[in-house]
């Protein structure tokens, strides 16, 4: 398979680019909701529009009412989301939670997927327990209780946790904190008694929660996949999420780069356009080169994942690490090359810097994934 978009994918990219630039742009969404101090941090109307575009259920199988598309397609939408800094539940709901639900019972699918596909529901995922992503260690516990489970513990960095109609929670049902086995995933509904959220606004204006589970009673049918065998589902969800986050990061990097290159062609100092200075040209060219490579790595990871390749996990970490470094470079160069106005709230370039910071942290940052590449490669 050639490593570029086929005709259908190129068409989808055109559609997504046009739609998100029009409806999901920075003024209409990110600034709009931020300036109103919106407690969701995103717009429900846009989510509904994304459903009408067919985006929300793109990874859901056709048999379950979705479009049965793959991660290349999801990545196309995410790249545009990244480019426009569009706050939306797409990555957590339509990629992460949707991937988890693929492993769920018919009953769970029936309960949650229609709402996702229609753009009426929003889902979140609760994985991290400390300030750094470390999914190998899970201490939140679910103990058997009657026909179901009782959940105790705490999660953090739950993106849009307070807005979510359902949260996918990774909990330990047996073994000790660091064990690979003994994990179970649960679909916890929003009104579950004993679940409480401490909402925090993050640097990029997105909303996250520290979520506590204090004796939350769950039915047995809240289990996604196998009891004690949730690691496989968690891993599948993480790979999908990382590849998705990489695609969004490519969009952030490209957005910041394009804005900066445009600025170099407008701003005059010393009687010249600053884009004429070779010191800046070379840095812009280096950035271009890194962004191209990061994007290729991301599309490769998407294709491997869609093809069910055993290398998808490795390539997902390569892509996440490469994109994290590249988007960081893009936003840093972006702010620097804008000079003083790059530091102002009025200019969008600073918003890219903020988004990159949050996105890079999500599901593991550049060093987490470089370390993972080493481990998966055997050193």
């Amino acid at each position: 398979m050639p490593l570029y978009h086929n005709e259908d994918q190129a068409m989808l990219a055109d559609t997504a680019r046009g739609f998100i630039a029009e409806e999901g742009n920075i003024a209409k969404q990110l600034r709009h909701w931020r300036d109103r101090n919106c407690k969701d941090g995103f717009g429900h109307a846009l989510w509904k529009q994304m459903a009408e575009m067919g985006f929300t259920g793109m990874l859901v199988e056709e048999a379950d009412g979705g479009l049965g598309m793959g991660h290349v397609e999801a990545g196309i939408v995410l790249e545009e989301i990244g480019r426009n800094l569009t706050p939306s539940p797409f990555l957590t709901s339509s990629v992460l939670a949707a991937t988890a639900l693929k492993h769920g019972s018919a009953d769970l699918k029936g309960r949650y997927l229609p709402g996702l596909i229609a753009g009426d529901s929003v889902f979140a995922v609760a994985i991290d327990e400390t300030a750094k992503h470390r999914p190998s260690r899970i201490t939140t516990r679910a103990e058997k209780s009657g026909n179901g489970f009782r959940l105790n513990g705490a999660k953090s960095f739950v993106i849009q946790g307070a807005s979510a109609d359902m949260i996918v929670v990774a909990a330990r049902t047996s073994g000790s904190d660091e064990d690979a086995d003994g994990i179970t995933l649960f679909a916890v509904p929003k009104d579950a008694a004993g679940m409480s959220h401490d909402s925090v606004r993050l640097v990029d204006s997105s909303m996250a929660t520290h979520t506590k589970f204090e004796g939350v009673e769950l039915d047995g049918d809240a289990v996604i996949g196998e009891i004690d065998g949730g690691r496989a589902v968690l891993d599948a969800m993480l790979i999908a999420g990382r590849v998705g986050a990489a695609a969004e990061g490519v969009g952030v990097a490209r957005g910041a780069m394009d804005m900066t290159v445009d600025y170099l062609k407008q701003r005059k100092q010393f009687g010249k356009l600053i884009g004429e200075f070779q010191a800046l040209q070379h840095r812009a060219s280096h950035l271009y080169s890194e962004v191209e490579i990061a994007r290729a790595a991301t599309i490769k990871a998407q294709q491997l994942l869609d093809g069910g390749s055993a290398h998808a996990d490795l390539m997902a970490s390569v892509a996440k690490a490469k994109v994290a470094k590249t988007a960081r470079l893009a936003v840093q160069e972006g702010v620097q090359m804008h000079g003083g106005i790059g530091m102002t709230d009025e200019y969008d370039i600073g918003l890219y810097m903020k988004r990159d910071r949050a996105l890079a942290e999500f599901l593991g940052d550049a060093t987490f994934h470089a370390n993972r590449v080493a481990e998966l490669s055997g050193y």
């Binding site: 490593l3 010249k272 080169s289 490579i293």
Partner: protein, 397 residues
């Protein structure tokens, strides 16, 4: 798609039957690859057998048309062949500037007579070509070149000097940029082809910091170059005085080659191999070095994906025409980093210049050789200039 799978099966069994086991060993030195030419010798029988099998099948230049010695493969088929050769670690049967540089230029600009003659010679490894571009006063600023061809009607008399001419002392023929109009800088250069055995051509090897002398100073002292080698075989490519267009087109292919876009050893991750190497030397990787290797592997694997994407795109005209410059910049900088890390893991062992354990100082000599990657074929700074101008469209670039 089904056809492609069929092709994969056929290719796999053809390779199984025709690629000798010795030709599936990693390439250790330059003589492990056959470069062809009138004076070339085979290192062993396996090398000869492998070349002959590939020539018969058209696999020395798989995408060239059959009439010019290729196999006429489509881009997806060529990718399958590359993947299948990579899978068994098959060495390239033949490598040469003819394949990578002159061939593509002739396919694009050549007359049918030139293609019939020169491409077939290249495909069979009969004639080894060298590249006469750089001059002492004209490196990055190549278009300022001074080597002059005086028009004598049916021939030119060429005088001047080239430098850094790789393998000029082993080459049979040269493709050479010669000024034929002093009044016009860009439209006064002719892309000439002539025999290195011509009277008045001398070469003088230059010793590199790696201790070998793969390139030369090349002198032209009243060299008579006929304008034609026969019916439809002019001695120049394209049009007289418009050789700069050919030269630039060829540079794109040269940069693609140097970039290592086609993967293989250069695109691969090295961390696991370095851990084994350290263990052999009785050591473990220290944590900071391990971290640097991990960061490198991320970049190397990402670049391998870029190489695959670039080749897929360029074969169907989807790549930006200036993209080989980006590939060359990124690929060569990466390769230099690779060898810095390999030297670091090897420690004092890798400093040995002549020992048996290092097969005559391979680590340090290879490390030094990579420093030329970001100079030859256009420097990294020039690549960045080209990206700024042609891709980013920055002012005054």
């Amino acid at each position: 798609m089904a056809d492609l799978e069929q092709f994969r099966t056929e290719t796999r069994s053809w390779l199984e039957a025709n690629c000798p086991p010795e030709m599936r060993e990693p390439v250790r030195g330059e003589d492990d690859i056959y470069w062809g030419g009138r004076r070339a010798t085979f290192k062993n029988d396996a090398q000869k057998a492998w070349l002959e099998a590939c020539i018969a099948k058209g696999y020395t230049v798989p995408m060239w048309p059959k009439e010019y010695g290729g196999a006429g493969l489509s881009a997806p088929q060529a990718k399958v062949l590359r993947e299948e050769m990579g899978r068994i670690n098959a060495r390239p049967p033949l490598s040469s500037f003819g394949i990578w540089m002159l061939g593509p230029a002739l396919l694009h600009f050549g007359t049918d007579g030139q293609k019939q003659r020169f491409l077939n010679e290249i495909a069979r490894g009969e004639i080894r070509w060298c590249q006469g571009y750089s001059e002492p006063g004209s490196g990055s600023d190549l278009v300022s070149l001074q080597t002059f061809g005086e028009d004598k009607g049916d021939h030119w008399v060429v005088n001047g000097q080239k430098i850094w001419t790789s393998y000029a002392d082993h080459a049979d023929w040269i493709f050479c940029l010669v000024r034929t109009d002093k009044a016009d800088k860009y439209q006064g250069i002719t892309f000439m082809l002539f025999d290195m055995a011509s009277e008045g051509v001398t070469t003088k090897p230059i010793l590199l910091i790696s201790g070998s002398s793969p390139f030369c100073e090349t002198f032209f002292d009243n060299v008579a170059v006929p304008k034609s080698y026969g019916d439809d075989v002019p001695a120049y490519v394209g049009t007289i005085n418009r050789g700069w267009d050919v030269a630039k087109y060829l540079l794109g292919h040269e940069r693609e080659m140097i970039s290592g876009a086609d993967g293989g050893e250069r695109a691969a991750a090295i961390g696991a191999m370095m851990k084994r190497h350290a263990a052999k030397l009785g050591d473990d990787l220290d944590p900071v070095l391990r971290a640097e290797l991990a960061q490198f592997d991320v970049d190397a694997l990402a670049y391998a994906a870029m190489g695959e994407k670039f080749l897929d795109e360029i074969k169907v005209g989807k790549a930006h025409p200036a993209q080989p410059n980006m590939m060359k910049y990124a690929g060569t900088e990466l390769n230099k980093r690779r060898h810095e890390l390999m030297m670091a893991v090897g420690g004092s062992r890798s400093l040995e210049w002549e020992s048996e354990a290092t097969e005559g100082g391979k680590p340090s000599r290879n490390w030094l050789r990579t420093k030329a990657n970001s100079i030859e074929g256009g420097t990294s700074e020039v690549m960045l200039n080209v990206i700024a101008k042609r891709i980013l469209d920055l002012p005054g670039a």
